[in-house]
């Protein structure tokens, strides 16, 4: 094919993006079993039903301008997923959220929306706060595993990645791991603050790491939820700084905070 100019579709190029909306959404209940690809299809169709003026890329197969930021694994719920929509008309963030929200299936719920400010959203995502519910786990056993985990510098877990079986250091990525005081009968709940590394450390990796240190019996599979993701508030945080309590909000900041500007300030375009 070399030497020939790339073919271009006939007709004018598609209208440009004039407005970007950043959305925080939750993936709840049975919707947690959707994969990232499933969510992408669901959102694209919801946008069409909601008649949002989504911009499209040029070329022979135009794609809607939707930028995904990370994604909780299949089977893991989340209160803090993020996506950015490129629109070809200016739309108020709240209006876009309302239109899209009413078109999404229950369980995929929009919880926040802003017009994008400068800077990349993805780069603000430095760490996540995860909740790990361990059904039927023995509190004493979890305590022991958590203490051993805190006491060692490295916990390796094998995981199959695209590049084959790989050892990943779960401990190194985990900034905090504490037993939550939230009381749910028949369940021990852990909260973990985990840095975004490559490959990413997922909640089941954290559990596998704990299990490699002490026996942990569960009556049914782990139920994990991402509670927050965003910039690390205190990058120098050390494991020992937290013991007990809910650490999420203090450890990880709101990634949309830089986009929130005072009412009345002009921002129509940030592309």
């Amino acid at each position: 094919m070399a030497g020939r100019p790339a073919r271009q579709p006939e007709g004018p190029p598609p209208p440009p993006t004039v407005c970007k909306i950043r959305l925080r959404y939750a993936k709840r209940g049975r919707l947690r079993f959707t994969s990232h690809r499933d969510i992408a299809r669901i959102v694209e169709r919801a946008i069409r039903r909601a008649n949002l003026p989504i911009a499209h890329s040029a070329g022979f197969s135009p794609h809607p301008k939707i930028s995904w930021v990370g994604a909780a694994p299949t089977g893991v719920a989340s209160e803090a997923e993020y996506v950015e929509l490129g629109l070809m008309r200016v739309v108020e963030a709240a209006d876009a959220a309302a239109a899209l929200g009413s078109s999404l299936p229950p369980g995929l719920d929009i919880v926040d929306a802003v017009v994008a400010g400068p800077g990349s959203l993805a780069e603000r995502m430095e760490a996540s706060v995860w909740e790990l519910r361990l059904p039927g786990a023995d509190r004493g056993a979890v305590d022991e595993a958590q203490e051993r985990f805190a006491a060692v510098p490295e916990v390796l877990v094998s995981r199959r990645t695209k590049g084959g079986l790989r050892d990943i250091d779960v401990r190194g990525a985990t900034l905090n791991l504490a037993i939550s005081e939230v009381d749910v009968p028949g369940c021990v709940i852990l909260q973990a603050v985990v840095r975004h590394t490559t490959p990413v450390v997922r909640p089941d990796d954290v559990l596998a790491g704990l299990r490699s240190l002490a026996p942990l019996e569960l009556s049914s599979p782990l139920v994990a939820t991402r509670l927050a993701q965003g910039p690390l508030c205190a990058p120098e945080i050390r494991f020992s700084d937290f013991h007990g309590g809910n650490v999420g909000e203090t450890a990880v900041g709101d990634p949309l905070a830089p986009d929130r500007v005072p009412v009345g300030s002009d921002r129509s375009l940030s592309a």
Binding site: F33, E44, A46, R49, S61
Partner: protein
């Protein structure tokens, strides 16, 4: 009393299975009606994986038709993969619907759509997981009626041990008639129980109930007679035919799945039936006569469907979509309507002789320019006359060349191997055709072009002129597929895809088998047979072993059912099931096939008296109406 959802028990298993989202339901436009407000409840099953079953049009149509009725509800259930099946057995979770996650056994009817015979073992899995005895004879008033429909149900004899009844033909009115009978039966205090209801349904001609017919065999293995066991049961059971498709504009709000499925588009059936008369094509024979939807109904269905779903592709479905009498104004009208909305149109079945570049241009205007697919089916003109798919090689090459010149880079050609009277040379002619397609396409387009040859074994089907034919053995099919591969050579411009002959032979066994096949199906299933339509699950050896075991010491065998040619006077297992086709006409068409004699389409040439119109009380319904699609009102 409300039926409890099994979802909590299922949910604990889902993290342990692949693609768990397929089991959670939650599709847009799905319905879960109040259980106690309904007195007739259907579980509708497509006996394959969710990703294949969900898009099935037939099931979606019946789902809406039933749920629109007050007092009637319908939910859907699909085959679970072996990983979940094992966990469901371990934890005692029964076969469930994806709407309310209700156990299938709580419903009045389990309706199964058999699009292909290779779903038979999956029904046994579902029945067993549901806690419903797999043999119809063992069921009691506590169990749902197990009713089959779909194209394969035109010969339900191989499944006669396992189903209580079969519906032939269009399902829209049939499911309502069955619902009404069940309601009346319940209101009357269920006289005669389950058996009483089945007799009523059979006597009314709505349903074929295999248990009410006695089959006698001759010493040579062939059927001697099939007769009703009790008076008042029809000797031949007619098919159902819907006569005005504009009155049945379903599905109105197609299901939009959370999970990825094989077809994700707003599909509208633009006509039903086909009289092109391809002799291998069971669908074309059993769905006659041709009944078109009008251009305005199609337009309004697509509009509603896109709004209800957010799909960005429209499929204009039928057995040969370019044959709609107003296909040109329809595609132009749709391309105008959806200009600039990234909505693409597709015509899944297009004949070479009905195709033109203007049509293709309209299809590609608003979306991706996908590949073009044609199905010459046979490699030589003689063979194409035998199968009555009369397309000349010149026509085909003219069409593909024009497509390449107009910018298409890829054309797919579909063929069958093992057709009646076929020789090695007929199959090798495909290679010559593919090379001409490339050479002339390249010359006209001035750039490289590609063609993919896709070929699979032919399976003779009931209610077609080839119902008497000997199926080619897997060895013959595979030999010819190898010859073709060698003849195509290593030209990078030609892709070659093929399906080997073994699964086709089992499909042939199940398609033209009689009641004695039931024991084979059960044996295969007990030995682990599941998902026979999937090459990674299908085991030819398991089927052969089961045939050997079941047929030992009898005159019948796998070969007897498949590679044996039938005589005119042999009683075929489906002769008492009436697809509307006159048996003598089918026989004469078979003789014409052997003489390589073609037959015209009765839509445009004279009636050749196939028997369908008088026997179904329907006539060919085609346009043109002369109407056009008006622009849509802008939304919001």
């Amino acid at each position: 009393m409300p039926v409890e959802s099994v979802f909590p028990a299922l949910e604990a298993l889902l993290p342990r299975v692949s693609k768990p989202v397929q089991y959670v339901g939650g599709e847009l436009n799905a319905q879960t009606k109040d259980w106690d407000a309904c007195d007739v409840r259907w579980a509708l099953m497509y006996p394959d994986a969710y990703e294949v079953g969900l898009p099935n049009q037939g099931l979606q149509i019946l789902y809406e038709v039933l749920n629109e009725q007050p007092g009637t509800l319908a939910e859907r259930t699909y085959s679970v993969w072996p990983d979940l099946e094992a966990l469901m057995r371990e934890y005692g979770v029964p076969q469930f619907t994806v709407d309310g996650h209700r156990p299938v056994t709580a419903f009045d009817v389990l309706g199964i759509s058999f699009a292909t015979e290779l779903g038979y073992t999956n029904l046994l899995t579902a029945l067993d997981l549901a806690g419903i005895p797999i043999h119809a004879v063992d069921r009691t008033d506590e169990h749902p009626l197990v009713l089959a429909g779909g194209h394969a149900a035109f010969n339900p004899e191989p499944m006669a041990d396992f189903v209580d009844g079969a519906v032939l033909g269009d399902g829209e009115k049939a499911v309502l008639a069955i619902t009404e009978q069940i309601r009346l039966h319940k209101q009357a205090g269920s006289p005669g129980g389950r058996a009483g209801l089945l007799v009523k349904l059979a006597a009314s001609g709505i349903l074929y109930v295999p248990a009410l017919y006695e089959v006698m065999y001759r010493a040579d293995g062939a059927i001697e007679t099939v007769t009703p066991r009790i008076p008042g049961i029809p000797r031949r059971v007619p098919k159902h035919t819907v006569t005005d498709l504009d009155e049945w504009p379903y599905p109105k709000a197609p299901l939009v799945p959370l999970a990825e499925t094989v077809h994700e588009r707003a599909s509208v059936e633009i006509f039903r039936g086909c009289t092109r008369g391809c002799r291998f094509c069971q669908a074309g024979m059993i769905t006659r006569p041709v009944r078109e939807r009008s251009i305005d109904t199609i337009g309004s269905m697509i509009d509603k469907s896109l709004r209800a779903t957010g799909f960005n592709e429209v499929g204009l479905l039928s057995l040969s979509s370019a044959d709609h009498s107003e296909i040109a104004p329809l595609t132009k009208g749709l391309a105008d309507r959806y200009e600039g909305t990234q909505t693409s149109l597709s015509l899944p079945s297009t004949r070479v002789d009905a195709f033109n570049i203007d049509l293709a241009g309209e299809l590609a205007r608003n979306g991706r320019r996908s590949g073009l697919t044609f199905a010459p089916e046979g490699g030589s003109e003689r063979l194409r006359r035998v199968i009555n798919k009369t397309v000349t090689e010149e026509d085909l090459i003219r069409t593909t060349t024009a497509a390449y010149a107009a910018g298409w880079q890829q054309v797919k050609l579909y063929f069958m191997c093992g057709l009646p009277t076929e020789t090695d040379e007929d199959v090798l002619a495909i290679a010559g055709m593919a090379k001409s397609v490339i050479a002339q396409g390249r010359a006209a387009a001035g750039r490289p072009v590609r063609v993919t040859v896709s070929i699979g074994g032919f399976v003779p089907k009931p209610h077609t002129p080839f119902q008497w034919a000997a199926q080619a053995s897997p060895e013959t099919v595979d030999h010819r597929l190898r010859l073709l591969r060698d003849a195509l050579g290593r030209d990078k411009a030609i892709g070659y895809r093929y399906h080997d002959g073994k699964p086709g032979q089992i499909e042939g066994l199940l398609a033209r088998g009689d009641r004695r096949i039931g024991a084979v199906i059960e044996t295969v299933w007990r030995n682990g047979g599941r998902f026979d339509g999937w090459s990674e699950h299908f085991s030819y050896e398991r089927w052969v072993a089961a045939c050997d075991e079941v047929f030992a010491g009898s005159p019948i065998s796998l070969a007897w059912f498949t590679t044996r040619e039938r005589t005119r006077d042999e009683v075929l297992p489906w002769d008492h099931l009436d697809a509307g086709l006159d048996r003598d006409w089918l026989w004469s068409d078979w003789q014409d096939a052997l003489a390589a004699q073609e037959l015209d389409d009765c839509r445009w040439e004279g009636c050749y008296d196939c028997g369908v119109c008088p026997s179904t009380g329907a006539d060919t319904q085609i346009g043109p109406t002369g109407r056009t699609l008006l622009p849509l009102q802008p939304v919001g």
